[in-house]
């Protein structure tokens, strides 16, 4: 694993982008990493924009905002359009393939995951798309350990949503297995 990784999650408000960032950051703390997380979102509860940046490092972090994302997880077309140009060379983009038509980008690997449609069909809860796409991302990109992430879900998600989130994460993780060498699931 690299010494420092800059992860950006983005999408519409209401998709659980900020919570996903918090769960990811806390999981990295459990792995003994240094973490800095910041988020920004519009005034609306749903439908506006939402962004969560998480920097994970083996050392203390000097500047705590993402300058160039190594990993971009995008869950809406406007967010993809806004941030796909700020990914570092050799970076990787995970996008919700049911929501986004990707652009051709040089030097950046792009992986489509139909997270929202899996969430609707398999988990029967649209809001768990965030855990599906993050699960796939973590399987491929190895940002935090699986056990830390599951433990972080336990501690950060209210009890009544916990089961669905864990299930969604497991589903995403298994989708990630198939992604090795494949571009879209």
């Amino acid at each position: 694993m690299q010494e420092i990784r800059q992860v950006r999650l983005c999408g519409y408000g209401g998709q659980g982008v900020v919570l996903a960032g918090t769960i990811l950051g806390y999981a990295a703390i459990k792995d003994g990493k240094w973490v800095a997380g910041s988020s920004s979102y519009g005034a609306q509860a749903r439908g506006g924009y939402a962004r969560a940046d998480v920097i994970i490092s083996d050392r203390t972090i000097v500047f705590p905002h993402v300058i160039e994302a190594d990993i971009l997880i995008s869950m809406s077309q406007p967010a993809y359009d806004a941030y796909s140009g700020e990914v570092s060379p050799k970076g990787i983009i995970f996008y919700d393939s049911g929501m986004i038509s990707p652009k051709k980008l040089e030097c950046v690997e792009q992986v489509g995951v139909a997270a929202t449609s899996y969430a609707v069909k398999e988990i029967l809860q649209k809001q768990s798309a965030n855990m599906i796409i993050l699960g796939a991302c973590l399987r491929v990109a190895e940002v935090v350990t699986k056990s830390s992430f599951a433990a972080s879900i336990h501690e950060n998600v209210p009890e009544r949503f916990r089961e669905a989130n864990l299930k969604a994460f497991e589903l995403g993780w298994s989708l990630g297995e198939h992604l090795k060498g494949v571009q879209e699931v």
């Binding site: 918090t22 990493k33 997380g37 988020s39 705590p64």
Partner: protein, 380 residues
């Protein structure tokens, strides 16, 4: 000195807290058990967490009708013997200034956390600014001193909150934790130790609560109900608290002492941190979140062989004059980046005998490291 090592109020370990959550935990660890406040973005998470945690640790939480009532209630709680605080943002901090003057002349140890946002007025509630530093120093009328700390990380939001209580109790003075939205809403790893070093106010039966033999001393502080004869007034008073509103010597003695007790201890109170100052031609003087942009910039510059350094101000008031004088002697140029129109730039100019310039930004956004890099490169 009555510093003690006490058991912490959180289990030791690593946490993933926002700056505001860390402030609440730092205050509780330091012994704060009274909070009165009025919610305001971007500080509200402090009172939210305090409200929950006080139930667990046994504190008294009051949501007041406004910021004037909040700080007055805190002053009352302190004289009843509690360690007490409030938290707010610029607009609320403005409303508190009259009572801060009262706290200064009555030598009431209290902590105000000001999570700065883009002002003036109600400005932009969710956006960052650093525009409250001069208000912190001069917000109330008359001559008095305060202590103002400038944390740059979630770890320091925690540590400065503890230190703020320790300084307040030691010097019987209002202490401000001058956070900024960018640190208050940042989440970072926070390391919590098993024990906390705290200072509890000095009490001495039968001694005057408002005077000492020396002109820079801090008198012991009784609480109401402890059997002392105690009068507290915002008017000029003698060492026993008796009003002396037409005695020139009493006034001079009081005003000089409440200023000198801080200024004479400036060397002990004012803290700075030096980064890459060896051989630095250009020194960036920065504080709060901006110091993180500055350190990132300085490290980038050093990698390309540019001789840049950083002096970080952890304390803004009392101002670390000596550290600025030293930098002014060794550097060719000093650059002061600030999320305001140059509030600390003027202070740096007073003490640095070299070329000093500002890099100012008032758009409600943080100063990006690349802006500082470009500015330094232009003069190197």
């Amino acid at each position: 000195m009555s510093f003690q090592e006490i058991k912490g109020t959180l289990p030791a370990g690593s946490y993933y807290f926002s700056g505001n959550e860390a402030v609440a935990e730092g205050a509780i660890a330091a012994g704060c058990r009274y909070y009165a406040g009025y919610p305001i973005t971007p500080s509200s998470e402090i009172m939210e967490r305090i409200a929950v945690r006080f139930k667990e640790v046994g504190g008294v939480f009051m949501q007041m009708e406004d910021e004037l009532a909040s700080i007055c209630s805190v002053i009352g709680a302190v004289w009843a013997g509690a360690k007490a605080m409030t938290a707010t943002s610029g607009p609320g901090f403005s409303l508190m200034q009259e009572a801060i003057g009262y706290a200064a002349i009555t030598e009431t140890p209290l902590v105000v956390v000001d999570i700065q946002r883009a002002g003036p007025g109600t400005g932009q509630a969710t956006r960052v600014g650093s525009g409250d530093y001069m208000q912190a120093k001069w917000g109330s009328h008359g001559d008095y001193q305060v202590i103002a700390l400038s944390p740059w990380s979630v770890q320091e939001m925690y540590e400065h909150s503890i230190e703020a209580f320790n300084l307040a109790e030691q010097y019987r003075v209002p202490v401000f934790v001058m956070g900024e939205e960018a640190v208050a809403h940042l989440r970072e790893r926070l390391e919590v130790q098993a024990t906390v070093r705290v200072f509890n106010r000095v009490k001495k039966h039968g001694t005057p609560p408002f005077g000492t033999d020396s002109m820079d001393g801090v008198p012991p502080m009784p609480a109401f109900g402890e059997g002392e004869r105690l009068l507290v007034t915002g008017s000029t008073h003698d060492e026993f608290g008796i009003r002396k509103t037409d005695d020139p010597r009493a006034h001079a003695r009081l005003v000089e002492r409440i200023n000198n007790k801080i200024l004479a201890n400036r060397g002990k109170i004012a803290n700075t941190e030096s980064w890459y100052l060896d051989g630095a031609e250009v020194v960036v003087v920065a504080y709060g979140f901006t110091a993180r942009s500055a350190l990132f910039a300085v490290e980038l510059l050093r990698k390309t062989g540019k001789r840049a350094g950083l002096l970080r101000l952890k304390t803004i008031w009392p101002f670390p004059e000596e550290a600025i004088r030293d930098v002014g002697r060794s550097a060719r140029k000093v650059l002061v980046p600030e999320m305001n129109r140059g509030q600390i730039l003027g202070e740096v100019m007073k003490y640095a005998r070299c070329e000093v310039s500002g890099l100012n930004q008032t758009n409600g956004e943080i100063i990006h490291p690349q802006r500082i890099v470009r500015e330094v490169e232009a003069v190197l």
